[in-house]
């Protein structure tokens, strides 16, 4: 590894012409293109925001009615995961940083929120701000240290930091983190709107709000000077440095922004699920975020969101699908393996990495272009 190699995902994104890389079209096309680019996300947002008013059953796809508490909770979890994947993509897809420690920041947001509320009795908005600020500070410190090295070494250093945090959380120092049991909110610690089965739609809107904030932040970042610098670092760091960019600061900025979004996700995750779980600290979370981003398509907002959403959905629903008798035609041994969501997702991931390196969105775009061409 002596020569700098551009990551395959990034070079693929560049050649396939991601939304940011498209050449400027003629003037009449600009407004139409902009309308499509702003209109479609707004339409999707409107539909998603309206879902809690839809009393329809979608058998097979969702548990019970769409606005039932089961479906709302499931969709809220999917949305939080989608937002987390988007935050991780700022590092991996946009800047080419392979971090194995993203779980550290998600867990930091979650645990800082639960502990400040329980231990200090802070009101929720203040606690959320403290948790977010704490996560950003942690990201700044960890990033400043870890970014002194690059490539695989960076991945290992971040893994080490996250693993250290995971050990601390599991050992439960002073009874703060709750060890393996996690740290649930106490009764009355949260506003009534966020508690209870009947209020699932509010938690769903909260998760949707997190996704919207993440998309806005990432969009703003990508179109800023810093965003272009991040893309330059991803494509060829040495060249970016020769052009006069301070690549260390660019990478640090990407890490802090991505990790702070991760911390925000951790906060929302804690609110949606009613507490912190030690699962958030494990390297499996980071690995699954990586899987989501690559599945959906690295370096693309739709890709990361779609990957995260589908991953969380499949993770939750495949277990039920295997239990509900949909797979009874398979022999027992095969059924028990196929019924494991992570097995299906893992195999699917290997196939995507091997045959569709631009992910699902890249594949979709390629098919669309093929269809558009006569």
């Amino acid at each position: 590894m002596t020569t700098p190699t551009t990551t395959p995902t990034s070079s693929a994104a560049a050649t396939s012409g991601g939304p940011e890389a498209a050449p400027t079209p003629p003037r009449a096309g600009v407004t139409r293109r902009r309308m499509v680019r702003v209109g479609i996300p707004l339409l999707v947002l409107a539909v998603l925001a309206w879902l809690p008013y839809v009393p329809v059953e979608v058998p097979g796809l969702l548990p019970g009615r769409v606005n039932g508490p089961g479906s709302m909770q499931l969709l809220a979890t999917c949305l939080v995961t989608a937002g987390l994947a988007l935050g991780y993509d700022v590092l991996f897809g946009r800047t080419g940083l392979l971090s194995f420690g993203h779980a550290l920041f998600v867990a930091a947001g979650s645990y800082l929120l639960t502990t400040t509320i329980t231990a200090w009795g802070l009101p929720l908005p203040v606690a959320a701000l403290v948790a977010l600020g704490g996560t950003a500070l942690l990201a700044l410190v960890v990033g400043a240290v870890a970014l002194r090295v690059g490539g695989i070494a960076f991945a290992m250093v971040t893994l080490a930091f996250a693993q250290a945090a995971s050990i601390v959380v599991l050992r439960d120092p002073g009874g703060v983190t709750g060890g393996e049991e996690g740290h649930p909110f106490e009764r009355g610690a949260l506003p009534d709107l966020l508690v209870g089965v009947a209020n699932a739609p509010y938690r769903y809107w909260l998760a949707l709000g997190f996704v919207v904030v993440s998309v806005l932040v990432v969009t703003g970042l990508v179109h800023s000077r810093a965003g272009h610098a991040m893309a330059a670092v991803r494509e060829n760091e040495r060249r970016a440095a020769v052009l006069g960019l301070d690549t260390y600061r660019v990478r640090l900025l990407a890490l802090v922004v991505g990790s702070t979004l991760g911390g925000l996700g951790g906060i929302v995750h804690a609110l949606v699920l009613g507490g912190s779980t030690p699962h958030l600290t494990t390297s499996e979370l980071t690995l699954s975020l990586l899987v989501m981003v690559v599945l959906g398509g690295a370096g693309s907002r739709w890709g990361a969101l779609l990957g995260g959403f589908l991953y969380a959905y499949a993770d939750a629903r495949l277990t039920e699908a295997s239990g509900s008798g949909m797979l009874t035609w398979l022999p027992e041994g095969v059924r028990s393996v196929v019924g494991q969501p992570l097995f299906v997702l893992g195999v699917f991931f290997i196939i995507v990495v091997s045959f569709a390196p631009t992910g699902l969105t890249g594949l979709g775009a390629r098919l669309l272009r093929k269809a558009a061409r006569p």
Binding site: M1, T2, T5, T7, P8, T9, L98, V145, A146, R148, V149, G151, I152, A153, A155, M156, V157, L159, A160, F161, Q163, A164, I167, V168, L170, R171, S283, E284, L287, S288, L290, V291, V294, G333, S336, V337, V338, G339, Q340, P341, L342, F343, L345, G346, V347, F349, I350, V353, S354, P357
Partner: protein, 294 residues
């Protein structure tokens, strides 16, 4: 005094397990540049293969031969799995390092889930020869006997690997490949075949580590390989990727530090200090990742 001896011997035993788990990982990274997250899967595969074999062997056998035969079967199974994985998944992505890492990540997720589906998520007890559960009295300390087995196996493996690297043609190619892969290719040597052999070898050693780790834990479970893998990574990075001797030194150091800190400070401090040691080594000596001479 007896406490110290006990802690030192258990630390050495743990270091021996780390060495077994890390040596294959180190060779594969040093030669091929593949950070193999599926290495834990090979360990788990070996552990389950040994468990199944021990179950299938006739009841008349005593536990010792059973363990021996099932270990041999496990190593063969591990090497075969490694061979298949290299040929089917790693080789097509030659020179795409990030994607190779991603494929092994997917493999590790899928294999843990598959093991859960087939054998269940609960740990299954493994059969242990009675002498391994007994203790040996040395310098006034009662030492668990199985630790000596791990140390002996690790020492044999280390000697074998070093001999392989030093005295065989394959070893020559590996040493040259770790140092400068492009040059070896330019000299007309088929490095790809060497990759396959080394990958299968590493997987076989990983399976051996998996069997011994399941003996150490007393059970076999789907997530076992993954939990050992983290420490194997730490050992490999501290020891210098691709260096077998460095890996051995690092494995012993990590095992001892972990046990000493866990015993004399507080439970958990050892695990933490080892992880922070990794960060420290990487930050102070980032070159340790670039592959030292094997």
């Amino acid at each position: 005094m007896s406490d110290l001896v006990l802690v030192l011997v258990t630390g050495l035993g743990l270091g021996a397990l780390y060495l077994l788990a890390a040596s294959g990982l180190s060779l594969v990274y040093g030669l091929m540049g593949v950070l193999n997250f599926a290495h834990g899967s090979f360990m788990t595969a070996g552990a389950y293969a040994a468990w199944l074999t021990a179950d299938a062997l006739p009841d008349g056998w005593s536990a010792g031969p059973r363990l021996l035969v099932s270990t041999v079967v496990a190593v063969v199974v591990g090497a075969l799995v490694g061979l298949v994985v290299e040929v089917l998944l790693i080789r097509p992505l030659y020179r795409h390092h990030i994607q190779q890492v991603l494929v092994t990540v997917g493999l590790s997720l899928a294999s843990v889930a598959a093991a859960q589906g087939v054998f269940g998520a609960d740990p299954r007890p493994v059969e242990q020869p009675s002498w391994m559960g007994s203790t040996v009295t040395l310098l006034g300390a009662n030492l668990p006997a199985d630790r000596f087995l791990y140390v002996a196996v690790a020492a044999l493996l280390l000697a074998g690997l070093l001999a392989l690297l030093r005295y065989t043609r394959l070893g020559l190619v590996i040493r040259a490949g770790v140092e400068n892969r492009t040059m070896v290719e330019a000299l007309g040597i088929d490095v790809r075949r060497t990759f396959t052999v080394v990958f299968a070898l590493g997987a076989g050693v990983a399976a051996l580590a998996g069997v011994l780790y399941s003996q150490y834990a007393g059970t076999v479970s789907p997530g076992q390989g993954g939990s050992l893998l983290i420490y194997a990574f730490i050992v490999v990075v501290i020891g210098g990727m691709g260096s077998v001797t460095g890996t051995a030194v690092a494995a012993v150091a990590v095992g001892l530090v972990q046990q000493l800190a866990n015993y004399y400070a507080a439970s958990g401090v050892g695990d933490l200090s080892v992880v922070l040691l990794l960060a420290l080594v990487l930050l102070l000596r980032p070159a340790s990742l670039q592959g030292a001479p094997a």
